[in-house]
C-alpha cells in the first residue's frame, strides 16, 4: 500500500521548502463553502422570515405592524384547531410508521430464503418521487373507479361508491395512510440496519441459556436498537410535521380544512394568497413548535436513559 502512495506522492513534492497549513485553517477552508451556501439559502431566509412576520408584506410592499400577525393567529379559533390537528397528524402517523417499521425490520431480519429480494422490494416507495406515489394513491382513493372503493363495495362494506377524499374524517385518515406508506420503508431500512449491527454473541449467549425468540427480541434487540429507534422517531416526527406534498396532492388541505396542517395552511396563506407577512408568522410558529417539541423530546430522552442506565 505505502509503495503505491510513494509512487504517487513523493516525486512531486519538494521537501526542502514546505509549509503546511495549520489544521484549523485548512479545515475551515473545506467547510466554508458549504457553510456559506447553507447560510445564504437556509439561515438568512430564516432570519428574514422572522422579520417579515412583523410586517404586512404582500406583493406590493410592506409596513411594520408589530405583533399584529401573531395576535390574529392566537385569537383565531381555526388556527388553534390546525395546531391540534397537526400534532394529531404527527403523533398518529409517526406512531404507525415506527410500529410498522419495527415489524417490517424484524420480518426482513429473519434468516429465511428470499430475504435479499424482500429487502429490495420494500424500497420503491422511498425511491420514487413522493408526488408520483401520491398520484397513484389519488387514483386508488377514487370513489367511482378506484380499487379501494371497488373492494369495499364487493365485500359489502358500502353499497354505494365511497369517495375517500370527499369526507372530512375519511380524507384525514386516507392522507395518514398515504403518509405512512411513504415513510415506512425508510424507517424499516434504518431499523433493519440497526438490528444487523447487534452482535450475534448476545443472541447466542441468550439462546444457550434457553431464552425464547420473544424474550430475545424484548431483552436484546429492542434495547440494542433503541438509540436508532429514538433518533428515527425524532427525525420522522419533524418530517411528518412538515409533510406537504402528500396532503397537497391528495386534498389540498380540504375538504373544508379537514386535512389542513400548519405547513399547508402556511403555504396557502403565503404562496396562494401572497400574504407574505401572515404566512411568515405561521412559519415562525411552526419552527418554534418544532424546536420546543425537539427540546422536550431530548429532555425526556435524557431522563429515561439515565433512569434505565442506557447509553
Amino acid at each position: 500500500m505505502s509503495e503505491a502512495i510513494d509512487r504517487h506522492v513523493a516525486p512531486k513534492v519538494d521537501r526542502t521548502k514546505r509549509r503546511v497549513l495549520p489544521e484549523g485553517v485548512f479545515a475551515w477552508m473545506l467547510v466554508a463553502p458549504a457553510l456559506f451556501f447553507i447560510i445564504l439559502i437556509v439561515a438568512w431566509p430564516l432570519v428574514e422570515t422572522i422579520r417579515l412576520s412583523f410586517t404586512d408584506a404582500r406583493l406590493g410592499g410592506e409596513n411594520y405592524v408589530g405583533f399584529e400577525n401573531y395576535n390574529d393567529l392566537f385569537t383565531d379559533r381555526r388556527f388553534h384547531a390546525t395546531i391540534v390537528r397537526t400534532f394529531y397528524w404527527m403523533f398518529l402517523s409517526v406512531g404507525l410508521k415506527l410500529v410498522l417499521g419495527l415489524i417490517g425490520a424484524t420480518l426482513l431480519n429473519a434468516a429465511i430464503p428470499g430475504k435479499g429480494l424482500f429487502r429490495v422490494l420494500v424500497m420503491p416507495p422511498w425511491v420514487i418521487p413522493i408526488a408520483i406515489g401520491c398520484m397513484g394513491w389519488l387514483w386508488l382513493y377514487n370513489g367511482y373507479f378506484g380499487l379501494l372503493s371497488g373492494m369495499a363495495q364487493k365485500t359489502g362494506l358500502t353499497d354505494a361508491p365511497f369517495e375517500f377524499l370527499a369526507h372530512k374524517t375519511s380524507a384525514f385518515y386516507s392522507a395518514i395512510v398515504t403518509d405512512v406508506w411513504v415513510g415506512t420503508p425508510m424507517v424499516t431500512l434504518f431499523l433493519l440496519a440497526a438490528m444487523q449491527g447487534v452482535s450475534r454473541d448476545l443472541y447466542e449467549a441468550a439462546w444457550v441459556d434457553g431464552a425464547g425468540r420473544w424474550y430475545r427480541f424484548r431483552r436484546i434487540t429492542l434495547p440494542q436498537i433503541m438509540p436508532v429507534l429514538v433518533s428515527m422517531a425524532l427525525l420522522s416526527a419533524i418530517w411528518t410535521f412538515n409533510s406537504f406534498e402528500i396532503i397537497w396532492i391528495l386534498t389540498q388541505g380540504g375538504p373544508r380544512g379537514a386535512t389542513t396542517t400548519l405547513i399547508v395552511d402556511t403555504y396557502k396563506v403565503a404562496i396562494g394568497n401572497y400574504k407574505f407577512g401572515e404566512g411568515a408568522a405561521r412559519a415562525v410558529v411552526i419552527v418554534t413548535l418544532l424546536a420546543i417539541f425537539s427540546l422536550v423530546y431530548l429532555f425526556f430522552l435524557n431522563k429515561v436513559n439515565k433512569r434505565f442506565g442506557g447509553k
Binding site: 500500500m1 506522492v9 513523493a10 513534492v13 521537501r15 503546511v20 497549513l21 489544521e23 484549523g24 485548512f26 479545515a27 473545506l30 467547510v31 463553502p33 458549504a34 447553507i38 445564504l40 437556509v42 431566509p45 430564516l46 428574514e48 410498522l100 429473519a110 429465511i112 424482500f118 429487502r119 422490494l121 420494500v122 424500497m123 420503491p124 416507495p125 418521487p129 413522493i130 408526488a131 408520483i132 398520484m135 397513484g136 387514483w139 373507479f145 372503493s149 371497488g150 373492494m151 363495495q153 361508491p161 415506512t184 431500512l189 434504518f190 440497526a194 449491527g197 439462546w207 419533524i238 412538515n242 396532492i249 403565503a270 404562496i271 411568515a280 412559519a283 411552526i286 419552527v287 425537539s294
Partner: protein, 280 residues
Amino acid sequence: MMDRYTLLQKIGLYAAIAVFLTFVLLPLFEMFMTSLRPTEHLFRSPYVFWSKDFSFDAYSKMWETVPLLGRYIWNSVYIASMVTGITMIFVIPAAYAFARLEFPFKTATLGLFLGVNMFTGAVLLIPLYRVLRTLGLLNTYWAMIVPGVAFLIPTGIWLLRTYLEKIPRELEEAAYVDGATRMYTLRRVVIPLAVPGLIVVGVSVFIGAYAQQFLFAITFNQVRELQPLPAGLYEFIGYQSVTWNEMMAAALVGVLPVMGIFLFLQKYLVAGLTAGAVKE
C-alpha cells in the same frame, strides 16, 4: 441452530412478509395495472380488476396527451444530476473536515448543518422566493437546483463523514510523512480511497434530488418547458377528464431513470446506509 424455524413459524413469517409487501407495493402495482387498462374499462363503476383487453396502448398515446413528457423526464434527470454534482462538490471537503480534522467550533458547525434538517423548504418559501428573485433565478433551472442543493448538503455530509472515518488514518499519515500537502493528500489519497462511499452518497443524494422536485418546482418555476416530471404531471391531475391510464404510464416511465440507478446500485446503497446508521 438458533435461526431454525419450525414449518409453522416459516409459514407465519412468509405470510406476514406477504401482507407487509402488499401494503408497500399495492399502489405501484395498481398504477401499473391501470396503465394497461383501456380507457373504457378504466371508467367502469363499480371497479373491475381484470380486463380481457389489457394493452400497452397508453404507453404510446401518452406522448400525445402529455406533449412535453420527454422534456419533463429530461428536466428531472438534469436537475437531479446538477443537484447531485453541486452537492458533492460542497459535501466532500466538508465531510472530510468533520471526519478527520480538529478545528474551532467544530461541534457547533456540525450542529448547524444538522439543524437544517429541522426545516423543510416549505417553511422558508417566502424569503427563499425573494432571494431567488433578487438573484434573478426565478423561472430557471437554478430556481429548483439551488434550494435542492441546500437541503441535501446536511444529509450528504452526515453520510459521507461516517464513511470517511472508516478509512485507515495510516495512509494519510504516510503521505504526510512523504511531504504531501494537505490538499494533495485529500485529492490524491483520500478521495480515490473513498470512491465506493462517494458512490453511495452520490446515489442517495440523486434519489433525494429526484424525489424532492415538486414543491420548489410548483413555487419557483412557472415555465412549463422547465418543469420536472412530478410538477409537469401534476398539472394534468386537475383537468376534467384525466386519462388515468396514460397518466400512470407516464409516471412509471418517468421514474425509470431513478429506479434503474437504484436497482443497479441497491447493494452498495443498502450496505452504505447500514454502515452509516449503525455507527452513531
